[in-house]
């Protein structure tokens, strides 16, 4: 701890309720709680608390709460507490500041400024409890020639597609950044839901090959864990060019998270930081990307769709257009709110653009160029709820990736300390005693619950609009209206303001 920085949060214990059972002490990997024998009671060092709420949730007598400390510096509208603390921290360490999970700052959330339509009188809403309401979607290239066999029957000339029961997939989160049990939960949930999870750049653990038909494997700039079996096992292969939380830089997995298993899976030495380069050193331009796409297609005999994932940056529409002409089957765009297990704070908080705007521009550009059928578009970067999924699809997405929401389902409380490797919820850690806390039997069920619940909500909203297939919602921007958005924002999103008619 930096002595210049007072505790941000305070552990408050109700002495009337505390029975000194010491559960909190055992649960806290940050060693906040301890039992004071002399005083005969539990005490807490709030300075170590990351506010992960593990102790609060597990306290059997509900004696604990964590509150924002009311300690304050001299009030200053220009220098916030956060900014001052960061200066202290860097003056102390001389290092780049690290953060985890998505950009938490007060930038606009456009999804919250978009409203959805519903049918009244002139066409009927459709009741998903009584009528079929289709959320199934296929991802992949649609632009095909119509060919017929000798009898005149249509021949299926489509390149390989991913079939999703819901327009939702689990984002790339590597084994290493998250735990074995977290991966198992995601893999089993994807299998049961009829969707896909994504290995991230950390390779595929040998135990999880059995879920491979619901697995998207990633090929990132570090090429960790990439080998022939890995590629052949997958349902699809994702080339990670960028990530919303840290556009323009590579990944960094601290050595302490590189256990035996992680080391084997990634095919790298144990205990040494795994740093993937900022660029792919074989891709310095779009034509190089095309070569990697076709290398991977050749390696897998053209049986798997290739996804190219990019961070949402200013020129994302033109970049997407280039990717759509490079043989990719799916483009994944990750907005600036997207999560991470570790990113330099300055990058996370200052680089990239909101996914809503990026998506709207990419979809529109691909249509203007007549190549929207070349690719499916998957978006990520803070999809908070089923309503965001509906809005994203109406803006033009084929499906959404969820990462943070999936981790929340597993118990994450967004303390944003993943990079410390001491996740009390057993998610973003490799410490065996912590990993054990996440029971995959429960974890996978909670993920299944979450996506199923969102599925029901998506169906309700679709039915309200009189739409009974998710395909008829895609790019259906007339179903959206902005509230409190300026002309530029409306133009970029390609939607009308609320109150304007059809």
């Amino acid at each position: 701890m930096d002595t210049y920085i007072p505790a941000e949060y305070e552990v408050v214990r109700n002495p009337d309720l505390c029975i000194a059972c010491r559960v909190c002490e055992r649960q806290c990997a940050n060693e906040v709680h301890s039992y004071d024998k002399d005083l005969g009671k539990m005490i807490a060092d709030s300075g170590k608390c990351v506010n992960c709420h593990r102790c609060v949730c597990l306290c059997p007598t509900h004696a604990l709460k964590i509150v924002k400390s009311d300690d304050t510096y001299r009030l200053n509208s220009n220098w916030s507490v956060q900014t001052m603390n960061e200066v202290y921290r860097q003056a102390n360490s001389g290092g780049v500041l690290l953060s985890s999970m998505g950009n938490p700052n007060d930038y606009p959330v456009y999804f919250n400024k978009i409203l959805v339509n519903a049918s009244q009188v002139t066409n009927p809403p459709i009741d998903p409890l009584r009528e079929p309401m289709e959320t199934q979607v296929f991802l992949g290239k649609k632009d095909v020639e119509i060919k017929r066999d000798m009898e005149g029957k249509l021949v299926d000339t489509l390149p390989p597609q991913l079939k999703l029961k819901y327009p939702i997939m689990f984002s790339a989160m590597s084994y290493g950044s998250i735990s074995y049990n977290a991966h198992e939960s995601l893999a089993r949930a994807a299998e049961e839901l009829g969707i896909y999870y994504n290995t991230g750049e950390g390779g595929l653990h040998k135990d999880f090959y059995k879920y491979s038909k619901n697995t998207i494997v990633q090929v990132a700039s570090g090429r960790f864990g990439v080998h022939e079996d890995y590629l052949s096992a997958a349902a699809a292969i994702e080339i990670k060019m960028g990530q919303g939380a840290k556009p323009g830089i590579g990944g960094h997995l601290p050595g302490m998270k590189i256990s035996d298993d992680v080391s084997q899976t990634r095919m790298i030495p144990k205990g040494v930081d795994a740093i993937s380069p900022a660029p792919h050193h074989d891709i310095y331009s779009i034509e190089d990307l095309r070569q990697l796409i076709y290398s991977l297609k050749e390696a897998t005999a053209y049986t798997k769709p290739i996804i190219v994932k990019v961070a949402a940056v200013h020129n994302v529409a033109a970049i997407a257009s280039g990717i759509a002409r490079s043989g990719a089957d799916i483009i994944a765009i990750d907005g600036f709110r997207g999560g991470t297990g570790a990113a330099p704070t300055r990058i996370r908080d200052n680089v990239g653009i909101p996914i809503e705007l990026a998506l709207a521009q990419v979809d529109e550009r691909l249509r203007q160029e007549g190549i929207r059928d070349n690719v499916s578009v998957v978006v990520a970067g803070s999809i908070h709820s089923s309503a965001d999924v509906v809005k994203a699809i109406a803006l033009g997405a084929d499906a959404c990736y969820i990462g943070t929401a999936a981790l929340l389902a597993l118990g994450c409380h967004l303390c944003r300390s993943c990079h410390l490797g001491k996740c009390n919820w057993g998610i973003a850690t490799q410490r065996a005693d912590l990993v054990r806390r996440l029971n995959p039997d429960i974890g996978y069920k909670r993920l299944v619950n979450l996506v199923t619940a969102w599925g029901h909500e998506i169906q309700e909203m679709m039915g309200g609009m009189g739409i009974n297939s998710i395909e008829a919602l895609r790019g259906n921007r007339l179903m959206l209206r902005g509230v409190g958005l300026n002309e530029s924002e409306l133009r970029i999103l390609g939607i009308h303001h609320a109150g304007e008619s059809m």
């Binding site: 049918s119 066409n123 079929p132 059928d373 033009g396 009189g466």
Partner: protein, 375 residues
């Protein structure tokens, strides 16, 4: 353009806003190719008077210009003579004009503010056509679009061969009489439309059927997939300037039939696709075909209520949305087949039908001329 007293230029025109409508549709086809006047179709649509509100009615007749069947028949609305002059200058530059005249109409009390209405029989100038590097149909469509988009106060509302669209603002039965369909024209197939817009457009061009060369569509419904369909089909050079369901459905059918060379049955399985759960229960072969069509053309699935009658040279197709959210009845007697929003629209002209049925949602009903039937 063609504003009538109702809106006094205050209400937005078709194409400036999206105007949903309720409607009535009906059609008759004599599969032997025998031609009938428009009298029956007028009686059919008139019976469903209450499904229209006087803000739009129209007809399409097939086989009505046998003497000029080699030529494109253009029907035009003009605001004024300057628009007519400008358009005719354009036509002369691009087509051989075989015959032109003002369209014969009858004064009807309830029809007011009619535009100037002219008809031309045309053939593309061969040199122009060759220089354009387009096929003949594309060339004609291009010219129609150019007139509609660029000549202020002119609108081509029918452009097929040996067929014609007749439409305007008013109740359909009055529009039919206005154009003398009951006396002047005889065709083997007629479709008709009565409109109930939930707004007050007074533009004659906005009435239905909507036509593209010999294709015509009458539609009752309000589709919920509109913008998804529009944004997709506009990738292929179509421009949905009228912002109507009918327009976008016409373009979708044109794209799938003419460009993608699908059959009518296949087109129906794209725009009114079976549910996945239904497809699962089909035969291996059907499952393969329908799955492919849904995977290849997901953005051309049309949802929300509709019943359409698609007219083309030699036949028609009636189709409902997949849930059948709009009524539509079909009937047959001998060579004659009928389609109507309500059964009364059929019984009034043929009380004694042999077979009458309500097609299921997404089930196309296709009637074509019999072998040897004239077109």
């Amino acid at each position: 353009m063609f504003v009538n007293d109702l809106n006094l230029k205050t209400a937005p025109l078709e194409g400036e806003v999206r105007i949903p409508s309720g409607c009535a549709v009906s059609a008759i086809i004599d599969r032997s190719g025998k031609r009938m006047t428009g009298e029956s179709i007028i009686r059919s649509i008139a019976t469903m008077h209450d499904r229209s509100n006087g803000l739009g009615g129209g007809f399409a007749g097939y086989g009505i210009y046998p003497d000029y069947k080699e030529y494109y028949a253009f029907h035009l609305f003009y605001n004024d003579f300057s628009a007519k002059k400008e358009t005719e200058d354009f036509l002369i530059k691009h087509f051989e004009v075989v015959y032109s005249s003002e369209m014969k109409t009858r004064k009807i009390k309830s029809i007011s503010n009619e535009p100037l209405i002219y008809r031309y029989f045309l053939y593309p100038l061969s040199k122009r056509l060759a220089n354009s590097l387009l096929d003949e149909e594309q060339y004609v469509v291009r010219c129609v679009n150019k007139i509609n988009a660029e000549i202020n106060g002119a609108f081509v509302f029918s452009s097929g061969k040996n067929m014609g669209i007749f439409k305007g603002v008013g109740f359909p039965e009055d529009i039919g009489k206005f154009y003398l369909l009951d006396e002047e024209y005889a065709g083997y197939c007629w479709t008709s439309h009565g409109r109930y817009p939930t707004n007050t457009p007074g533009w004659w061009g906005g009435a239905h059927p909507f036509g593209l060369l010999d294709y015509s569509i009458v539609h009752n419904g309000e589709i919920s997939s509109y913008d998804a369909n529009r944004r997709y089909i506009e990738m292929f050079g179509y421009k949905c300037s009228l912002q109507t369901d009918t327009e976008v459905i016409t373009y979708i059918i044109d794209y799938l039939l003419r460009v993608k060379k699908l059959t009518l049955q296949e087109v129906a399985k794209v725009i009114s696709a079976s549910f996945w759960s239904t497809i699962e229960e089909k035969s291996e072969e059907d499952r393969r075909q329908e799955t492919f069509l849904r995977k290849a053309f997901p953005s051309l699935l049309v949802t929300g209520p509709f019943s359409i009658i698609f007219g083309f040279t030699g036949g028609l197709m009636a189709l409902n949305d997949r849930l059948k959210l709009r009524s539509m009845v079909c009937a047959e007697k001998g060579d004659v087949a009928y389609v109507s929003s309500e059964e009364c629209g059929i019984r009034v002209i043929e009380p004694d039908v042999e077979k009458i049925f309500a097609p299921a949602g997404g089930q196309p009903v296709i009637y074509t001329l019999k072998e040897g039937g004239e077109d």
